[in-house]
């Protein structure tokens, strides 16, 4: 059996064929590749773990950014609504103040007078009839 250095090869040998027991025989390339397998798996595992962590971290970063953007937008919406409501309230208050408190006694007296006049007028009208 001739082993080629370039490609990994193996054969199965039987007892006394010539070997102390039956088993598998690897050529130089074959045993070299087998010996390197643990290193290769470890390196690939490390790389895979690092890659997955990086991907998850990037996704988490995006999610976090989206939440931050949403929070900022909601805060701005809240500020806008409060600001507009404040303006609305202050404008309505001005309109209300222009009418009510400063002249309320005049309105009161005018109302009483108008009531008296109306009652008296009605009394006179209906009394005459």
């Amino acid at each position: 059996m001739v082993a080629h250095a370039e490609s990994p090869q193996f054969t199965i040998v039987g007892k006394n064929e010539p070997a102390p027991f039956e088993g598998v025989l690897f050529n130089k390339r074959g045993i070299a590749e087998l010996l390197v397998l643990p290193l290769e798996y470890r390196l690939e595992c490390d790389l895979e773990v690092e890659y997955r962590i990086d991907v998850e971290s990037t996704e988490f970063q995006l999610e976090r950014q989206n939440f931050q953007i949403r929070i900022d937008a909601l805060n701005r919406e809240y500020d806008l609504r409060v600001e507009q409501k404040d303006i609305e309230i202050s404008t309505l208050q001005e309109a209300l103040l222009a009418q009510a408190p400063a002249r309320k006694w005049w309105w009161f007296v005018g109302g009483v007078a108008a009531g008296v006049v109306t009652t008296y007028g009605a009394y006179r009208v209906f009394n005459e009839q």
Binding site: A5, P20, F21, K28, R29, I31, A32, E33, L34, L35, V36, P38, L39, E40, L43, E44, L47, Y51, D54, V55, T58, E59, Q61, L62, Q65, N66, I69, R70, D72, A73, R76, E77, L80, R81, Q84, K85, I87, E88, T91, L92, A95, Q99, A114, V117, T118, G121, R124, V125
Partner: protein, 136 residues
């Protein structure tokens, strides 16, 4: 020149005071109603203006939010592309490292004659790596 006989006017007013009172009251009520309506209209306009401002503001905020999210998504895609490239590069590097190590083992086997004179060296390596028992 028109001359007003105030005595006649006074007599007329006295005679028709009820009609005059009704007209004055009617005008007062109409004036008050118009004033109240105007106030109500102003209130409505203020509310409408406030809502209009809110709509415009919300539209701006929403547009900016979408823009920022789009930017974040672009950054995310760029980062993923970069990671993918680095991953492929490192995989190639691993392949190189593994190939180099294989060549190194082959060379050691040749140089140290581990298939003939120094079998124990290779056997030790196999035992260390896989825990197999060596049977000479």
């Amino acid at each position: 020149m028109l001359k007003v006989d105030w005595l006649k006017v006074l007599n007329l007013a006295k005679k028709n005071w009820k009609e005059i009172a009704i007209i004055i009251l009617l005008l007062t009520v109409i004036g008050k109603m118009r004033y109240d309506y105007k106030q109500l209209e102003n209130t409505y306009e203020v509310s409408q203006q406030s809502l209009q401002n809110q709509i415009e503001g919300l539209q701006d905020i929403h547009a900016e939010e979408l823009q920022r999210k789009e930017r974040a998504l672009q950054n995310y895609r760029q980062a993923l592309d970069l990671l993918e490239k680095e991953y492929e590069k490192e995989r190639d590097e691993i392949t190189i490292v593994v190939d180099e190590r294989i060549v190194e083992i082959e060379t050691t086997i040749d140089n140290r004659r581990q298939f003939t004179e120094n079998k124990e060296e290779l056997a030790e390596q196999v035992t260390d790596t896989f825990g197999f028992q060596y049977v000479p």
